[in-house]
């Protein structure tokens, strides 16, 4: 067994879904459909309403996924042939505006430009929030 493996991708991936709702992240060597996420967030079966998704992986190998107008950050753990949802972290009741994810070891930083909110997340949820930017 190999221990102390670091899965962190350090830099988020910003990926445009194709017309069938699939996203391909070459950096993380992963391809999946965002149908279920869109349906879950917006109650629609039309992945094209999403312009781009943002994805980052932390040290333990969890994928953090969110997008513009999402109310949640989704935390997945990869398993054989699937991504198993581990957490769904609510970050906004009305949907977060133009979010982006940074790797701030050991946390994932979620920033929203318009809401001027910063969240420090791990797979378990929000570690810290409501830090104003530019302060």
């Amino acid at each position: 067994m190999i221990e102390n493996v670091d899965y962190a991708s350090y830099l988020e991936s910003v990926i445009k879904p194709d017309k069938d709702g699939f996203v391909v992240d070459l950096k993380n060597n992963i391809r999946f459909s965002i149908h279920s996420l869109v349906e879950r967030e917006f109650g629609l079966n039309d992945p094209t309403i999403i312009n781009e998704i943002r994805l980052i992986r932390n040290t333990r190998g969890y994928y953090f996924i969110t997008a513009h107008k999402f109310k949640h950050v989704y935390v997945f753990l990869p398993e054989s042939g699937k991504l198993k949802l581990k957490n769904r972290i609510e970050v906004s009741s009305s949907g977060i505006e133009y979010p982006f994810l940074n790797w701030r070891e050991p946390y994932v930083e979620l920033v929203s430009d318009t809401m001027e909110l910063i969240f420090y997340l791990n797979e378990r949820g929000i570690f810290e929030k409501n830090k104003e930017r530019n302060s």
Partner: protein, 405 residues
């Protein structure tokens, strides 16, 4: 413990992220874009004077993005931010080298242009010199033509002078013959005639002038000229010998100084004219492929020429089928009749002892040679061959007829 470390780390890293004001992704994209732009600008630098500006630009960019070195190093993996800037610096250095080279070439081009301009000036200068030389050459040609004309004039004058001398000598002789009886009387009475227009003075003057002005070594004199001048000398000498005694009696005043002077000048004239004439005839004949044994006076010349004719005759008389001997004999005859005899006999109407016989003998030898080597006419050969064939055929028929009987 681990949590405490994490919190501490977060406290350190949070201000950095706050300062960044952008997502790491966007920062990396901006960085890539900035580097790409910078790289493009570097590639398009047109003057080495801009190089320093770009060094500063690189430094500035490095400073901006260097704050997040760790993040960039991770994001740019397998490259890192240092390598990216090093590559930019290397590109800038390559461009700088290229520009310096180009600018150096530009300088060289300017230098070459200057040299070309200088060479054009030099060529123009040479053209000017060439023009001057052309003019000088043209002028020299004119001078040569003038010189040639003058030489021709000189030769013409020589001929005229010789002709004039002959006319005067002849008229003197005629006058002398007419007054010869008077001179006989004068001899007896021994009068003392004083005459400043003495013909002796005139003869002496003519002789000294001829000896002083005739350039026998001139390359413009021909064989004909030498022959004519020698012929004149013989004629003059003859006239002098005839008039000498009477003229001395009348004008000599018992002083033999003038007589001796005239004799001396005549001797000089004779020696020089003969010497150059015979050597030039020999040279002329040699050039015409007529190799004669050496000769230095009339006798040896006639002998040498006759020997040559007879020897050539002997060698070529069997060659009647070819024209070689005939052509050779015609060439010798041409020299003998047209060149030699024409001039040799021009003024000299008095022959020394044996001269006539010599000339007649050579005439005969030449005539024999010419006759013996005259080629047979081709028509004659054809007729002879035809006759021979006919006779042979006739004999053959006669024999056949006899056999049948």
């Amino acid at each position: 413990m681990k949590n405490i470390i994490s919190i501490l780390l977060l406290i350190i890293t949070i201000p950095l992220s706050v300062l960044s004001q952008k997502s790491d992704f966007d920062m990396v994209e901006d960085f890539k874009s900035d580097i790409q732009n910078l790289s493009y600008k570097i590639e398009n630098i047109i003057s080495s004077s801009q190089i320093n500006t770009f060094h500063m630009e690189i430094e500035k960019t490095k400073k901006i993005y260097g704050k997040n070195k760790l993040m960039f190093d991770r994001a740019l993996y397998p490259q890192n931010i240092e390598q990216t800037f090093t590559q930019l610096e290397l590109s800038l250095l390559a461009v700088e080298n290229r520009l310096v080279l180009i600018e150096h070439q530009r300088e060289q081009l300017v230098s070459m242009r200057n040299r070309t301009a200088s060479m054009k000036l030099e060529i123009n200068r040479l053209y000017t010199i060439t023009d001057t030389l052309k003019r000088k050459l043209s002028s020299a040609k004119k001078e040569v033509n003038t010189y040639v004309n003058e030489l021709k004039g000189y030769n013409d004058l020589l001929i005229q002078r010789d002709s004039l001398v002959i006319r005067i000598i002849d008229s003197m002789l005629i006058s002398y013959d007419k007054t010869v009886s008077i001179i006989s009387d004068l001899k007896l009475k021994k009068p003392k005639l004083l005459n400043s227009d003495s013909p002796l003075e005139w003869i002496y003057t003519v002789l000294t002038q001829i000896n002083a002005t005739t350039d026998y070594n001139s390359s413009f004199l021909t064989v004909e000229d030498y022959l004519r001048m020698h012929s004149l000398q013989i004629r003059f000498n003859h006239a002098w010998k005839k008039m000498q005694a009477g003229l001395i009696t009348v004008y000599g005043l018992n002083d033999d100084y003038l007589q001796l002077s005239i004799e001396h000048e005549l001797k000089i004239w004779d020696d020089r004219s003969q010497k150059y004439m015979w050597s030039n005839i020999h040279k002329y004949l040699t050039n015409q492929d007529m190799i004669l044994s050496t000769f230095s006076d009339a006798d040896s010349f006639f002998e040498s020429l006759e020997n040559y004719i007879q020897e050539s005759h002997r060698l070529t008389k069997q060659e009647f089928l070819s024209k070689k001997g005939y052509i050779q004999s015609k060439k010798v005859a041409d020299f003998w009749n047209s060149t030699f005899k024409n001039e040799w006999l021009l003024y000299s109407n008095v022959f020394y002892s044996g001269e006539t016989q010599n000339i007649e003998r050579i005439d005969k030898s030449l005539s024999y040679w010419e006759n013996d080597t005259q080629p047979i006419h081709p028509m004659f050969v054809s007729i002879l061959s035809l006759a021979l064939v006919s006779i042979t055929g006739f004999i053959f028929l006669m024999i056949k007829t006899k056999e049948k009987r």
